[in-house]
Subunit: 401 residues, 2 copies
């Protein structure tokens, strides 16, 4: 029995409210041996107060040693085993540009490239065109019509776009058409099962049409495709937990991930202050609130330790606005670590604090990686966080008599 | 998805080097209540320095409460779930005498025994003959030829030998022929599936031949067989992790276990100093080095607390030779605990230290069971150690986008 089945079986009605505040890439590393992490360096009186009253620990996003992308990182926090529920690259790319992918869709990442007269690739990124040119070329490709399928061609930036095929019985077991080297011709799409063969046939028609429409548009005179992905079948938060859930995120990718599990996507505004205002506005209409804060990750990816510290302090400053709404359960954590020292996502466990009136004290008085090691939640796979939230929210009945 | 699949999918090329130093049976217990363990008692300045810079924790070899043999203990450390990958007794016995078992082999443990004129067992161990006699009797049995199969009869010691059948389509679902009591006749071998029935038929021919050849050799005038085991199918370290792996072990059993997962078996010499010299010699030709140190286990099995302390200190003294090679990841742990107090393997979690430049500090400053309880790795199943090593070695890409 997986966690979703258990939740469906045990969940109970309640008026309680749960807030899951995800500081993307929260976990870090010291810059120098013997130093402190970003979170440990930051002045965080409000987070520390929560930790003193609540319980803390460290979340392992997937498994020890495994560095997650944003997709698996968030699925785990929403309670879905990221090794069981996989989101393909094409779908993630579509979510990232806020394209409303749905159940009949196969999405794939596209590149504009340059080919010579013999059709051989001379530049896999078409000289990195300006995004305006990408937009114009996508508009052109949008004119391609293929019977039996709806086609959407959406610009991302520079040479990158997303192609979405919408129709019935489309598989995604299709090879990349990008040969990954110059001097070679784009590959033909081939499906490795009957439904994917259908997708491949449609895709090859699309590519033939694109070659015709772009032939005089060098350097953007051809396309390659990578990462075919069908829309994943995931039970919604409503179905699993009985929670009316709202996502208050600024960036499209995180809105998209929340949409995958059936959350209502709020109009969040652009700043953390706006997000807090949105939270207040929606407070009476939902049970579960996913707040996504991006800047702890982006400063980490920039390798900017001081800026990440500042972003954590800024988040801490807004926390009283959440507390003022008196949630029954407040969780602050990240979807993964992004140590400034590594300038990338990492596998290190992520600090977690869970505040509610039913926490057992754990003697941790400050929020930080080293302190959380002694926390009452211990180290646990991220997928176990939602059942803990549900329990502390009084929303889970007893298992067995 | 199991860990092996995940590693195949995520692994990346790198020049980094990983050293896994296994101090067999490392974990211990205090002799007296309130006392220290062997590791805590030992003076280990070099291990302590590693722990201060690295991260520590406790490894659970199989599952809580489960005491592993050497086979499962090492498979776990190599990243293979010991509950999924099982090595049968016959194969382990063959590995222990350095017999080069291969993919077409079924191995089984044999005992010389004594039977009376009616064929009933009067001594299950044939009066524990001298090993020379065992060798002579095995040479005699080696003369048995059975069409369709190669047969190897290899002495172990006293009454014990190993029988290996080499051929195609041999199963190992065959009962022990040892009736486990005197007064009974050896049992006929019966296979419980078609391939095992073939093995049983060949084995019964072998036993009939042995009875004829030994009939005038009392007390070693008959044989019994136990623990039929086929060579296990295990992906190699190269296939799973993309690591060129070398084993630097002195004892045959550990060389054999390393050979099972495709490691190159080095000529290690006889002392820890020799092993260090071998490590240095092989340094440029491999990515992963498994160093096996036996004496922490054997002194534990002897119940000799002081000697185990001494063996740990000796290991600590050689550690600078490993550090001098500048591995990217250095792990020191055991395959299980062997507390001198219990004079045997035990289920207690095993201290682990992992040193690399990407460790998050955990405030542990000394290497020992109690200190490791507060370590950043927490307590984890041994099978998760290799993914951690791969991550710290910069050899794993991101899971999902």
């Amino acid at each position: 029995m997986n966690i979703q089945q258990l939740m469906r079986e045990l969940r109970e009605e309640s008026d309680s409210k749960i807030v899951l505040l995800v500081a993307d890439g929260l976990g870090g590393l010291p810059e120098e041996p013997g130093g402190k992490t970003e979170l440990e360096s930051a002045r965080t009186p409000n987070l520390d107060a929560c930790v003193r009253e609540g319980v803390s620990g460290l979340s392992i996003p997937v498994l020890p040693g495994i560095t997650p992308g944003s997709g698996p990182g968030h699925l785990g926090l929403f309670g879905y085993d990221p090794l069981q529920y996989r989101i393909g690259r094409g779908i993630l790319e579509a979510l990232g540009i806020n394209f409303p992918v749905g159940e009949r869709d196969v999405a794939v990442r596209g590149n504009f490239c340059t080919v010579d007269d013999a059709g051989r690739i001379t530049d896999r990124r078409a000289g990195r065109p300006a995004t305006e040119r990408c937009v114009a070329m996508c508009r052109r490709l949008q004119e391609i019509h293929i019977s039996g399928v709806e086609i959407y061609v959406e610009p991302v930036r520079e040479h990158r776009f997303v192609l979405v095929l919408r129709g019935d019985g489309l598989g995604d077991a299709v090879n990349d058409t990008d040969p990954q080297q110059v001097g070679a011709r784009p590959l033909e799409a081939v499906g490795s099962d009957p439904v994917s063969a259908k997708t491949a046939r449609l895709v090859n028609q699309f590519v033939a049409g694109a070659a015709r429409m772009l032939h005089d548009q060098a350097p953007t005179n051809m396309v390659t495709l990578r990462g075919f992905a069908r829309y994943p079948k995931i039970e919604t938060m409503q179905e699993v937990y009985g929670l009316r859930s709202a996502a208050i995120a600024v960036y499209p990718m995180y809105k998209g991930l929340a949409r995958l599990v059936g959350m209502k996507i709020a109009d969040a505004g652009a700043t953390l202050g706006d997000q807090m205002e949105t939270l207040r506005t929606l407070w009476n209409d939902f049970d579960f609130f996913f707040l996504h804060y991006k800047y702890t990750d982006s400063t980490g990816e920039d390798g900017n330790f001081a800026a990440k510290v500042e972003m954590i302090e800024k988040l801490d400053g807004e926390l009283p606005k959440v507390r003022a709404l008196e949630p029954d359960v407040l969780i602050v954590t990240g979807d993964h670590s992004t140590p400034s020292k590594l300038r990338s996502h990492s596998w290190h466990p992520v600090p977690v604090l869970l505040w509610s009136k039913t926490c057992r004290p754990d003697a941790v008085v400050e929020f930080g990686e080293t302190y959380c090691l002694r926390g009452g939640l211990g180290q646990f796979e991220a997928k176990h966080l939602m059942p803990l939230a549900m329990a502390h929210a009084g929303r889970l009945g007893k298992y067995g008599a």
